[in-house]
Symmetry: C2
Subunit: 182 residues, 2 copies
């Protein structure tokens, strides 16, 4: 029995079938997805990630990968990669569905958890690598000042200190954001 149309209960109110197979997205779904595609792009993620999260967000039931592929008309590869990213952020979780071998995915909707995931996976690492770079800068400056004493090292030092203060502020800000979004 190949080509099983979505096993899920059909979404009620979907527009009647047009040319290609799988049931069309209804207007509301389209607009919600569009909204998430936008939001997600702002955060620096690809469109497909917004599509996946958006559809899961506006779906009452958990959806398996092939339903996402079907309904969003994206490739299996995109769906798989998008889901991996979303899971790494804890923005989707997979749930067990009795009698179905496939993973089923649900959107996490606690803003705090979403923010925490984003902070952990996307922001923290930048702050940390920033701190490393700044440390390296300080070394370079010291070496340079030794080799070429004439340099404006006072100015450079001040600027690098500035960077360090920014980095510290940034690091302290993140947990406050997480807390605020609770």
């Amino acid at each position: 029995m190949p080509q099983t149309a979505t096993k899920l209960a059909n979404r009620s109110g979907a527009s009647l079938g047009s040319p290609s197979g799988s049931d069309q997205l209804n207007l509301l779904e389209i607009e919600v997805i569009d909204l998430f595609v936008n939001a997600v792009k702002t955060l620096g993620f690809p469109k497909s990630v917004g599509e996946i999260y958006g559809l899961l967000f506006i779906s009452k039931e958990a959806l398996p990968l092939d339903t996402l592929v079907d309904r969003l008309q994206i490739s299996k590869g995109s769906a798989s990669q998008g889901l991996r990213l979303l899971r790494s952020l804890n923005a989707v979780t997979s749930i067990y569905v009795a009698g179905d071998r496939r993973d089923h995915f649900v959107a996490e909707t606690q803003l705090k958890k979403l923010a925490a995931g984003f902070i952990r996976e996307e922001l923290e690492p930048h702050i940390s690598s920033g701190a490393d770079r700044i440390a390296r800068l300080k070394q370079n400056l010291a070496e340079m000042a030794e080799a070429t004493p004439s340099t404006d090292s006072a100015f450079y030092e001040e600027q690098i200190d500035q960077l360090e203060r920014w980095n510290t502020k940034g690091r302290r800000l993140l947990p406050l954001i997480a807390k605020f979004l609770d």
Copy 2:
């Protein structure tokens, strides 16, 4: 007198001239620029913007456009566009230099101002357009529920309310960030 080499006082400690004209970036400058290129990409801006801001940040003197072009080896177009963006964020300001017709640019280094610019130009607009979209969603839902009463409108409504709460939280968060970074 075409092809005037940079009029600015030569950066001390720059490595001795190699093939092409304009004075090379020194190691410290390169690393600072690299750091900003990275930071700026995280925020969703192009590399050239990071290069420009980075060089201005680590330069004691204000620099005119053609010095940026020369030293960073970017096109005049990129420099012009990058500067426009940076000015719109109040991340650089131009200052008057006596006896020089050209605009000279300096990096703004107050974190609060930088953050405020970013929030105003990049985040606020998304929050606002998000609010519009959500309003439109509500309308659609109402219309849909009327046309096709069967729909899961209770679920949809809950999800849209969720979006609205997120939007509100986001809007309230922004000023707190600005305040914290003061």
